[in-house]
Amino acid sequence: MTGQAFFNEMYESGRVRGPYRQLEDWMGDMPAELRSLKQAEAEELFRRIGITFAVYGEGGDPERLMPFDMFPRVFAQDEWRRLERGVIQRAKALNAFLADVYARGEIVRAGLVPRDLVYRNEAYEAAMVGFTPPRGVFSHIVGVDLVRTGPDEFFVLEDNCRTPSGVSYMLENREIMMRLFPGLFRENRIAPVDSYSEELRRTLASVAPPKCERDPTIVILTPGAYNSAYYEHSFLADLMGVELVEGQDLFVEGEYVWMRTTEGPQRVDVIYRRIDDAFIDPLCFRPDSMLGVPGLMDVYRSGGVTICSAPGAGVADDKAIYCFVPEMVRFYLGEEPILQNVPTWQCGTAEDLKYVLAHLPELVVKEVHGSGGYGMLVGPKATREQVESFRVRIEESPGNYIAQPTLSLSTCPTFVDEGVAPRHVDLRPYCLVGERVTLVPGGLTRVAMKEGSLVVNSSQGGGVKDTWVLSE
């Protein structure tokens, strides 16, 4: 691992790459005092606006700030065009897959995806079989996690088809950067991202249920103020001008869903839910759920309301299904995939398992159903004991694990205590799928703030950056 060259997005063989040209002077002209002043200003803004994520059960102030790095991450227009096409292609294929596996399952019949991986998957919802949601869309917001290893080499790390979070950071990071460094935005032609909320509202309105014969009433369904992403829920509701509801605010009567208002019941047509499948409807899923709405699924299936994303959409973003997404692109769209998958070994198959166990110290091993950077082994960074304990866990239930080569994640200049230094980054753009499939030019760049670290998750000390797409 040591001595391995990482693709530096700003410098290539000692020269500044095109998209970052304007930033070299900006960085050079910034004295340390100004920098710490701006950093403090940014933190003050985040704190005052209330952009925090909540961490409970660790003691201390539960409201934490996401570390914000002021050095932007920049894409040139042509780089972005390719990413955009690739992400949209992937979002279409994933939705086609979902529509298929809850209908005739052609891709399974064709022998391209193993039957058990789909139908015995925990995320597969029997309640959705035979039901087609409005416009056939299951996953309305697809977050595709990407990493870069070279000028033209992008890999998809994973897909998020349920309720990907973090888009509020994409929007707020931009707001904060524009307040801190207005000059940068005058000198560079940076594509705006603030149309996202309007696009999201349009997307949700476009999938109104069949029984809705008027301008649809949209709501966001949140687990409540103690959820770690509550700020994002309320932020999006505010930007779209829709109500932010909890399960207790909704009830089912007749063939519709209603919300309790000060003027009596008001009908709800589209629910952008930010709660997990299991909690949506205690009559259909977990009976002990206090977060959901009893009877919601019946109304959904009879066309009285639309749930975004559809229950069961998670079967498409499962880490075991991930390997088959390139096949999906070919099968449903008849196109070659624009974005590549990271080569992946399925520990569930004997051949792959043998390879993985023999090469553990050089691989990244992930739990199939894990998320947030937990339950993950980064071989080259792990101690011998960690590797051995993972070996035991993999041998116990090989089907629970996949392995990938340790990628040489690209780096982007980042402000650190000593000045500016390269740190590893990834990217999550948010693709909207409704009547149209759209992608705002930008996304969430997460950065591993620790030197050498490849883990960018906020739960593991990762930070965020503003992400620029330069216009022509």
């Binding site: 005052r48 209330g50 103020a225 109500e243 509801v245 909890e246 208002t261 000060t262 009596g264």
Partner: protein, 318 residues
Amino acid sequence: MLSRTATNLFWLARYMERAETAARLMAVGERMSLIPSTCGSGYRSEWVPLLQANGSFAMFEAKYRDPVQRNVESFMFFDRDNPGSVASCVSAARENARIVRTALTSQVWDALNTAYQELMALERTERSGLPLTRLTDWTLRNCALVRGAIDATQLRNDGHDFMNIGYYLERADNTARLVDVKYYVLLPRVDFVGSGLDNYQWTTLLRALSAHRAFHWAYGGEVTAAKIAHFLILNRQSPRSLLTSVQGACDHLDRLARRYGRTTRAQTQARAMLAGLAELSIDEVFDDGLHEFLTRFIGDISDLGGAVFDTYLSGDLR
């Protein structure tokens, strides 16, 4: 508007008003403790009647026993176990605001959030550096900032009405309780009535309500118990009088009725209360017994709060 959102706005306002009253009560207590022999033989301390009027004496005694100023400060300002302490109220107001962040302007949120951040800083400050006046001044200033931000920036929509109904109901209740302190203070020694000490206590009450000068502008001449009671109960100019508070709640309930196109039990009850107060003279109040009158009033306000809950906040309206 979502009933839950209305509930959060209503309670946000009530908690801020309640925090303000806690601070004003502390100010009354401190001033009363500066004059000798206020407390008659029946009390161990001048702070006891104040806690009794506030309805929290039993809770205080169980935890602190000794009613000395430092304990009362801990209890009424810092104690999170006391739901009526300034710290509890400001935190609860801010939590309600956080939940309905989107129904508030950024100025209102900023005022509440800043108050909360400052409160946490106060909690970390050495107590010897925090004289009581600093605690009360801090509270009054922050309550005024929030109130001012609401008045200056919030849309005049139903959310604004629910916040104001919360403020006025809480204020009506709290002013009644503050006036009632007089009853508890004087209880042991009926012969104090009408004495110089009696008037001094009434004046203290005025000062605590930041209404000392306003009172003189409104009445002039000698300070008498009847004038002060009139000022705090029946005067329409007085911003904290019971009549003004009920009038305010009534106005905002009427706005809701017009906005929603229907009148409910809440309006009927509020109008009945208002009519009753408007016809009352201060002599009648004293003839009935001030304490009895106030006790009845506090009960009526609580019923009105119940009616507001049943009609608008419970989400059961059909």
